[in-house]
């Protein structure tokens, strides 16, 4: 055991001397986490932009439509000329634009029907679809008001009421009208915290990235002959692998500790209990990832092989683990995702961090990771012996 600890200490010393590697493994996770939080986090409401081409510059109804769009919360209105809109659509700078035709107000005033246009690339994108829905809803409301106005005007035409009186009646009527069918939104708890959603995936992704460093380190040690030299000492291969394993786990654990501490300090994430439990889970996952690093390092015959095998493994695990996109239950991908270690660790971490469950509730995931650690260490030791001889 002492010899293994010496190997672990040596690995750690070498790791700390490699400033670039150190920066990559410790600072990059923080940078990526901050970027992802900046890009997706902090705001769960919809924010969008409606690009409007108004060809009816002086029309009162066109202005009314634009005013109503402006009143929508979280929707910015950008006015474009027809040529600008065309160019932006051609270049995919925007995916959707709303056109108010030249005779829009005049047609409405004269009682004729008129048509607004929406031009879009493909389906207009998710933001475009939401914006179009808002636009249609406003147009629908406007349409109803105009129809009511026309009916009132027709029914009171014989009484000699003035246009002003008709407008007042219509406004009062539409303002006090009881809706037959309406929707009531009830709030059930707070919005999910994006930090809680992102963090498990990012932590596990970076622990997995460590596989590449571990595999490369083992290959490099073999290449420079120190591995063979170690074999001729009293150090057994099992002790040597145990030492390297400890160093890899320690490295992953330090990464995790930094990210979790950051999340705790900056975002107020974790309770003391969930902090500790999440660290325990990450330690287990670091162990599983460390054993994979040893397997890849044992079978790699070049640095390129070590790195690319690790990258392939890491990306596959991350994708299947649902870090970048959710995987729906019942789909084929859902069953395939069971092959990914990330699926288990992400689920377990979310259970602890988001739902405040205890480690006891994620024992199947812990058991799976423990199994992977044992199997990975045995397999890597066997493969190393086979390749070495």
């Amino acid at each position: 055991m002492i010899k293994s600890l010496h190997v672990a200490l040596l690995e750690t010393k070498i790791f700390l001397k490699d400033k670039a590697g150190l920066a990559f493994s410790l600072l990059l996770p923080i940078a990526i986490f901050s970027l992802m939080y900046g890009a997706f986090g902090g705001q769960t409401l919809f924010y969008g932009t409606a690009h409007v081409v108004n060809l009816d510059d002086s029309g009162a109804h066109a202005q009314s439509l634009i005013d109503q769009l402006n009143e929508v919360e979280n929707l910015d209105i950008v006015m474009l000329t027809e040529a600008e809109a065309q160019r932006k659509l051609d270049r995919s700078d925007i995916l959707i634009a709303f056109y108010i035709p030249e005779d829009f107000s005049a047609d409405i005033e004269s009682g004729q029907s008129t048509q607004l246009s929406i031009r879009q690339r493909g389906n207009g994108g998710s933001e475009g679809q939401i914006t179009a829905s808002i636009f249609r809803s406003i147009v629908e409301g406007m349409n109803q008001q105009l129809q009511v106005h026309a009916k009132v005007a027709t029914s009171v035409a014989a009484s000699g009421a003035s246009q002003q009186q008709i407008n007042t009646v219509v406004e009062n009527y539409t303002a006090t009208e009881q809706q037959t069918v309406s929707v009531n939104t009830l709030e059930q708890g707070e919005s999910p915290d994006p930090v809680n959603e992102f963090l498990p995936g990012i932590v596990t992704m970076f622990i997995l990235f460590g596989i590449s460093m571990n595999a490369r380190a083992l290959y490099e040690e073999r290449k420079r002959g120190t591995l063979e030299r170690l074999i001729t000492t009293r150090l057994s291969i099992t002790q040597m692998f145990a030492g390297k394993f400890i160093a890899y786990v320690l490295r992953g654990f330090i990464q995790t500790l930094i990210l979790f501490s950051l999340a705790y300090a900056v975002f107020g994430m974790f309770t003391p209990a969930s902090f500790f439990q999440a660290l325990v889970l990450s330690l287990m996952f670091s162990g599983a990832a460390g054993s994979f690093g040893l397997i890849i390092g044992s079978i790699s015959k070049s640095e390129g092989q070590a790195i690319w095998m690790a990258v392939f493994f890491t990306m596959t695990m991350v994708m299947l683990g649902g870090t970048f996109f959710p995987i729906q239950e019942g789909t084929v991908l859902h069953y395939i995702s069971k092959l990914s270690l990330n699926t288990y660790i992400n689920d377990a971490l979310k259970s602890i961090v988001v739902h405040n469950n205890s480690l006891a509730s994620v024992w199947p995931e812990i058991l799976i990771m423990a199994g992977v650690i044992v199997a990975g260490l045995l397999l890597s030791r066997y493969l190393f012996r086979v390749i070495a001889t």
Binding site: H6, I14, D18, G225, L230, T232, A388
Partner: protein
């Protein structure tokens, strides 16, 4: 042979279809320096790797100090040291760190490893560079550290695989003197080299390998006598006599 410390019996090793070692048999007495000579690809390094327990022979057996490397590899490793042909050091660490680490791996406790590291650094004339990073050392200094590492743990048998390749005469001389000092202390050494004058100077007996087999084995003088007047014939003449003058890969 009296007090045989190492015996290699009928060693065979193939890699895929290539026979690297094909029936090598020899023994080394305690306190002897045994030279293993041969052109490139003769099978010297593969033989040393089998003797030092890195490779398992396809056939045959190795016995070191009474321990078979097949059945008692750990015990055999406890009494051997290896100075590999290529430098096997942690370049990012200091000379002292390298020596202490390998000392610990050879079974020394912390204080003994540090004491022996200091002694070996003095022996190699590198005491003042103990804290220097290996990556910053010259080729000769690295070679000397490579040898110093192999001495950690007081091995009884030392494998030296071309320890003087590519270094200046001063470093080479330091290594010669160190090896002679080890011989005087009774250490058993297996030595491979391409420098014939080196083998002539240091070795009690020499084996010449080619094509995975030992084709000649005797004292340097005995080998010279086999082909002419020992006063006029050099070990290089003997070597070329046995292995020919055709170029090797």
């Amino acid at each position: 042979m009296p007090d045989e410390f190492l015996t290699a019996e009928n060693l065979h090793k193939s890699f895929n279809e290539v026979r690297a070692v094909n029936g090598v048999t020899f023994s080394i007495s305690r306190g002897e320096i045994f030279g293993l000579l041969g052109p490139n690809g003769a099978g010297k390094t593969t033989t040393i790797r089998m003797l030092s327990t890195v490779l398992e022979p396809d056939k045959g057996d190795v016995n070191i100090g009474g321990y078979s490397t097949r059945t008692s590899a750990a015990e055999a490793r406890a009494i051997l040291g290896v100075c590999p042909q290529d430098l096997a050091l942690y370049e990012d660490l200091s000379a002292m760190d390298n020596l202490v680490f390998f000392g610990r791996m050879s079974g020394l406790d912390s204080k003994a490893a540090k004491d022996q590291a200091e002694t070996n650094l003095k022996l190699m004339g590198l005491a003042d560079r103990a804290k220097g990073k290996i990556a910053k050392f010259s080729g000769g200094m690295k070679r000397r550290i490579n040898l110093a590492v192999s001495l950690m743990g007081n091995p009884e048998l030392l494998f030296l695989d071309e320890p003087t390749v590519g270094i200046d005469p001063q470093s080479r001389n330091n290594i010669y003197e160190t090896i002679e000092g080890l011989r005087d202390k009774g250490m058993t050494i297996l030595y491979t080299t391409h420098y014939m004058e080196e083998a002539d100077r240091l070795c009690n007996r020499v084996a010449i390998m080619d094509g995975g087999q030992i084709i000649a084995m005797d004292t340097p003088e005995g080998l010279k006598k086999q082909i002419g007047d020992p006063g006029k014939v050099t070990l290089e003449d003997v070597f070329l006599h046995h292995t020919g003058r055709s170029l090797r890969d």
